[in-house]
Symmetry: C2
Subunit: 106 residues, 2 copies
């Protein structure tokens, strides 16, 4: 089971940070239905190209999406394996069984 703290706390925080923005949630919502090129996204989300490019980079750096250049276009798609990592991370938040513990000494 993954733990939130530990060696890759930073990577975990980066993952969640990538999800912590409404524009990026919109992007992912689009990509859920399959890969899309940037022009389709600017079209669907009604936003500036440079803005979109910025957010795509954040998502890509976090590992949530990947790109596939094809000719003049670049298609973006969700990285399913990273989504599964995310599921594990969130699942690891579930409270473990409560054990008896010493009273606070502070």
């Amino acid at each position: 089971m993954p733990t939130l703290s530990g060696k890759n706390r930073a990577k975990t925080a980066e993952l969640f940070h990538a999800l912590a923005d409404e524009t990026r949630l919109d992007i992912l919502d689009q990509l859920k239905e399959g890969e899309r090129c940037v022009c389709e996204l600017t079209d669907a989300l009604q936003t500036g190209q440079s803005r979109l490019s910025f957010h795509l980079k954040v998502l890509k750096d976090a590992g949530l999406i990947h790109d596939r250049p094809e000719g003049r276009w670049i298609y973006y798609a969700i990285n399913s394996d990273v989504v599964e990592e995310l599921e594990d991370l969130v699942a690891s938040l579930k409270t473990v069984k409560k054990t008896v513990r010493p009273s606070p000494r502070c």
Copy 2:
């Protein structure tokens, strides 16, 4: 199935934002094992009280934790139901079946 976009995009982004910080991940890691008062957390995480209080507020505002004042102490604990919401949200990121779609018209 929840959708990332839509009515509560903002709330979703707030949830993920609360998770997008290493200190807050550390806090949650502690709370996984049961409720803790602030003094225990400052102790365990070796950090300033005011800093911790700030992050606890972020987590609480997002709904991830709740507090229970008892005498001189305030105990914090994870909100399991919100963790389950989170699981659903992450699960909703999974790519749906790819359908044939028109070529990009841009």
